[in-house]
């Protein structure tokens, strides 16, 4: 693909671009799903294209095309320069990029089993077995399962001499059981809601998830929720399971630390951030037990935010975001790094596809596990009275990332160190920094899971991105519970 890139880079240079980079991307995806004993979706998709990102007259231009012939590539590069010159008509200062030593590299997601090498018959057989197990429970009215595989091959070549070839493999799977009765719909999902668990890994993930083994329990819980008590309203201590805490991190830490959002670049759509620049290294974001990193490196785990280089050729790094409760870092790019006094980008720029501009995205934004050994059962045993909430059902936060409300599929009341009655429709709400400062216990490494959010939306035109979030179950004191149903 170097020849494709060279056509584009040459054209951009001749037309006066001071910087240019080219991404050529080939994506393949497979989506399989079942519903109530039938295959719902069975599709295979491929998409191939290229884009050119340039700086000309001190401003950005970007153009993308599915055509890889010389004429089309050169026209796309020319278009990118034309667009940059149009951008320059409304600018105040030139774009400045933090230096980055151009890399020449090859990398592939570590994996044991190529998911596309597993037969579709085997995939469907697994999904239908799970479906049958779910619907064997009386009271289940709807059972949905899904398997998803993606492979993205990307060539990144820049006018600075970078030449990076990466192959990313993603696997995702999950299911949901719904029980409709007496004008009420209850739902349970496994291993996580809204598509399940996703990682940058091969098909070995499917085997690790123990999907079939958990199906009956999940279905039974969906039915049992109809007889459960409504979650009470008031101030309670709560324990969040690992997957719900992962989403809490995504919404109330991961998004507000995106530096482009902080700097106003997302104001029209996704909003801004309460983390104004003066709060760096001054704001007490959480309690002493809160340590959050943004880590794209392989050693963090096979998260959706794991790669070797980001989409502007910056190597994967680990940035400390919250250190013993103090706010210590943003997610940055080559364009934004200098605005917080950094000499180098934090390596977080990624795009959904060949036809989307790379933007600052969460990598793996994870809360580190507690250092002292603590299992979930031990955490429960040490808790007098709390509500344990598991598996997200709804999520909402304001456009500066202060006020949030989450609902989960299921809860249990904990009394005197024991799990007692099941609760339905649990929800909790709060203000981001008050909430994180109420964390007073977090389980240790054995309870830590690196969850995947496959469809984080951002940007205009909108694009989605996979992000990773590692978390162990944790306890929070004095949280507002149940206000979603107040006054209803």
């Amino acid at each position: 693909m170097k020849h494709v890139a060279n056509w584009a880079l040459s054209t951009a240079a001749v037309r006066g671009a001071s910087y240019a980079d080219v991404r050529v991307i080939a994506q393949r995806s497979r989506a399989l799903s079942t519903k109530n004993g039938k295959v719902g979706n069975a599709s295979d998709a491929e998409s191939v294209g290229m884009n050119v990102r340039v700086i000309a007259d001190g401003a950005w231009g970007f153009a993308a095309s599915a055509e890889l012939g010389r004429g089309a590539v050169e026209a796309t590069a020319a278009q990118a320069v034309e667009i940059a010159r149009a951008s320059a008509r409304v600018k105040r200062e030139d774009i400045r990029l933090a230096a980055e030593k151009p890399a020449i590299a090859e990398w592939t997601t570590p994996h044991k089993i190529d998911p596309f090498g597993v037969s579709v018959e085997q995939n469907i057989d697994l999904l239908l077995k799970i479906d049958a197990e779910l619907r064997a429970v009386a009271g289940i009215t709807l059972a949905e399962t899904n398997l998803n595989f993606n492979r993205e091959v990307q060539w990144f070549i820049s006018s600075e001499g970078a030449n990076i070839h990466q192959t990313k493999i993603t696997t995702g799977a999950g299911y949901a059981a719904y029980a409709f009765a007496n004008n009420e719909i209850q739902k349970r999902s496994y291993p996580n809601s809204f598509g399940g668990q996703w990682q940058n890994k091969g098909y070995e993930l499917i085997e690790e998830l123990k999907l079939l083994e958990n199906a009956r329990r999940i279905a039974e819980e969906a039915v049992a929720l109809h007889k459960a008590d409504q979650c009470p309203e008031g101030k309670f201590d709560i324990i969040l399971d690992s997957s719900q805490l992962g989403l809490q991190i995504h919404e109330s830490v991961g998004h507000p630390i995106e530096l482009d959002r902080v700097l106003g670049m997302e104001a029209n759509f996704a909003g801004t951030s309460f983390l104004t620049l003066d709060k760096l290294r001054t704001l007490r974001y959480g309690s002493d037990l809160v340590n959050v990193v943004a880590d794209a490196r392989q050693e963090h785990g096979p998260g959706l935010g794991t790669f070797a280089y980001d989409d502007e050729g910056v190597a994967a790094q680990c940035t400390s975001i919250i250190t013993n409760g103090l706010f210590t870092g943003y997610l940055s790019s080559r364009e934004t790094a200098h605005m917080v006094g950094l000499d180098r980008s934090g390596g977080t720029l990624r795009a959904e596809s060949w036809n989307r501009l790379p933007m600052i995205r969460m990598t793996n934004v994870s809360i580190l596990p507690g250092e002292k050994p603590l299992t979930l059962e031990q955490l429960i045993a040490s808790t007098d009275h709390a509500i344990l909430m598991q598996t997200n059902r709804s999520w909402s936060i304001d456009d500066k990332r202060y006020n949030f409300q989450f609902g989960t599929e299921i809860g249990w009341e904990i009394k005197n160190g024991k799990r007692t009655r099941m609760l339905k429709n649990p929800s909790y709400s709060g203000i981001t920094t008050e909430f994180w400062n109420s964390l007073d216990a977090i389980c240790s490494r054995d309870e830590w899971t690196l969850w995947g959010t496959p469809n984080c939306g951002k940007g205009q035109p909108q694009q989605v991105m996979g992000t990773g979030h590692g978390a162990s179950p944790a306890r929070f004191r004095g949280v507002k519970v149940g206000s979603a149903f107040r006054g209803s």
Partner: protein, 462 residues
């Protein structure tokens, strides 16, 4: 952009490559460009062109789909092979129908055919968009505000061809402007889109957004509670959009719809009448569904009574054989199906609220309100409880206190938790419906609404 004839040729090539009993091909794509601005400068500026072919093959009642954006012979051979290989290993689907023929998919003889392609919109250049942004920034500078937003334009196509001789084709242009104006402690917002750029007035939108930011500066905090709300049309669109997934025959069959057991009953106020009507002059979009079937005008709600839901062909067939057949109103394919195979069935996507006999302007609604809140838009709406359609979300970008019939200034934004059933049962007044767009749902023709007893449960810090 490729033409209808070029795609017809591609379909012929695909059909010759396939050994399937039936072949159906969807074509989508076009050109799109977007100029994005923030902090009073253009900070992102993009353009793309893509053409996608999606091939569904069927062997008896086994079917699957494969998609590519390459049209050379080898790529077409591969996409057909992918679709066929995937289809052959599927389990038979007893509900799968043969692809529709042209007669079955056609609309009534007098069906309106509205062109939504405008050359002037297709011809918008980066320079024209930049000039538009420069003027918007000028409005911001004059009010000493910061502005952020987008100015986009594009030409899109969508087509369906199948081995029964059906060929449907639609092209459309689009232009959109969205503007946020920000001060140190307030903001305002406006957004509009249309197939025809001449229907947009970016400078007027900029002035309205700017005035909202100015008028909500130094917002007060008022307590959470139940208020009379005046929703601007975009706010109505954003919240009501969350119920339309349920106006689906498949959703009823799956028992995941809040309309289960409620079709034919009065669920909302008698001033609520809702249609799905792609041909409405203020609507836009493709006039056929994912199988190429003509989209019919369907009455979803009539005077507060849930009238009917929409159906893809196979869903209608299933519903006629189901235990619900006598309790769901008329059952017939309405041309709202998603492309096959899918598990969701269908949904209405061209919503039009019927005008009321005595519409009120927003100013009239304000004048008649003793104490209430005027809402510009809503944000991050999610479903909390599915059967009463309880939703949560935030107000945003221009939230005002109304007292004694006058706007009294800006207030801090609220979180709401409210049931759509309750909301639409408590609409005291509506304006004339207008074409509107938001961020939480698709474009609709909706009115502004005055709603009593809307539940704000929390206040945020700005």
């Amino acid at each position: 952009m490729l033409t209808f004839d070029q795609f017809a040729d591609i379909f012929d090539r695909i059909r010759k490559l396939s050994s399937a009993d039936e072949v159906e091909v969807l074509f989508t794509g076009g050109r799109f460009a977007l100029t994005r601005f923030a902090n009073n400068v253009i900070h992102q500026n993009v353009a793309e062109e893509n053409h996608v072919v999606s091939v569904r093959t069927a062997f008896g009642t086994k079917t699957a789909r494969a998609t590519t954006n390459k049209f050379d012979d080898e790529s077409l051979r591969q996409v057909v092979k992918s679709s066929e290989n995937l289809a052959k290993v599927q389990h038979p689907d007893p509900d799968l129908l043969p692809v529709p023929n042209p007669a079955e998919a056609s609309g009534p003889a007098d069906a309106q055919s509205t062109s939504r392609y405008f050359e002037q919109t297709a011809a918008i250049t980066p320079e024209l968009r930049a000039e538009g942004v420069r003027k918007i920034v000028g409005v911001a500078d004059r009010h000493k505000l910061t502005t952020a937003g987008v100015f986009s334009s594009g030409e899109l196509f969508e087509g369906v061809f199948n081995s029964s001789g059906l060929s449907k084709w639609h092209t459309q242009t689009s232009a959109e402007v969205s503007i946020t104006m920000l001060s140190a402690d307030s903001s305002g917002w406006q957004k509009a889109n249309s197939p025809d750029i001449n229907n947009l007035d970016p400078l007027r939108l900029a002035e309205v957004a700017a005035q909202k930011a100015v008028d909500t500066a130094h917002p007060r905090e008022i307590p959470a509670g139940k208020y009379t709300l005046i929703f601007e049309p975009a706010a109505v669109l954003d919240i009501v959009g969350f119920m339309f997934w349920d106006y689906s025959g498949m959703a009823i069959l799956d028992q995941r719809s809040f309309l289960t057991g409620r079709i034919g009953t009065r669920l909302f106020g008698d001033n609520i009448t809702i249609w799905d009507d792609v041909a409405h002059p203020l609507q836009a979009g493709v006039p056929f569904d994912g199988e190429g079937v003509h989209r019919q005008k369907v009455c979803l709600v009539k005077n507060g009574v849930v009238d009917r839901v929409v159906y893809a062909r196979a869903t209608a067939d299933r519903m006629k054989r189901s235990e619900y057949k006598d309790s769901v109103g008329p059952i017939a394919a309405t041309g709202h199906g998603f492309s096959l195979p899918n598990e969701m069935g269908e949904m209405p996507v061209n919503i039009v609220f019927a005008p009321v006999n005595n519409p009120q302007s927003i100013e009239q609604m304000i004048a008649s309100t003793e104490r209430g809140v005027l809402v510009t838009r809503l944000w991050y709406i999610r479903e909390v409880e599915p059967f009463e359609k309880m939703l949560t979300g935030m107000t945003r970008d221009g939230t005002f206190l109304i007292e004694n019939g006058r706007v009294q200034g800006g207030i801090r934004n609220f979180r709401f938790n409210e049931s759509l059933v309750h909301m639409l049962s408590n609409v005291e007044a509506m304006s004339t419906p207008v074409r509107s767009c938001g961020e939480e749902s698709f474009d609709m023709v909706v009115p502004a609404m005055k709603v009593k007893d809307f539940n704000f449960t929390e206040v945020t810090k700005f």
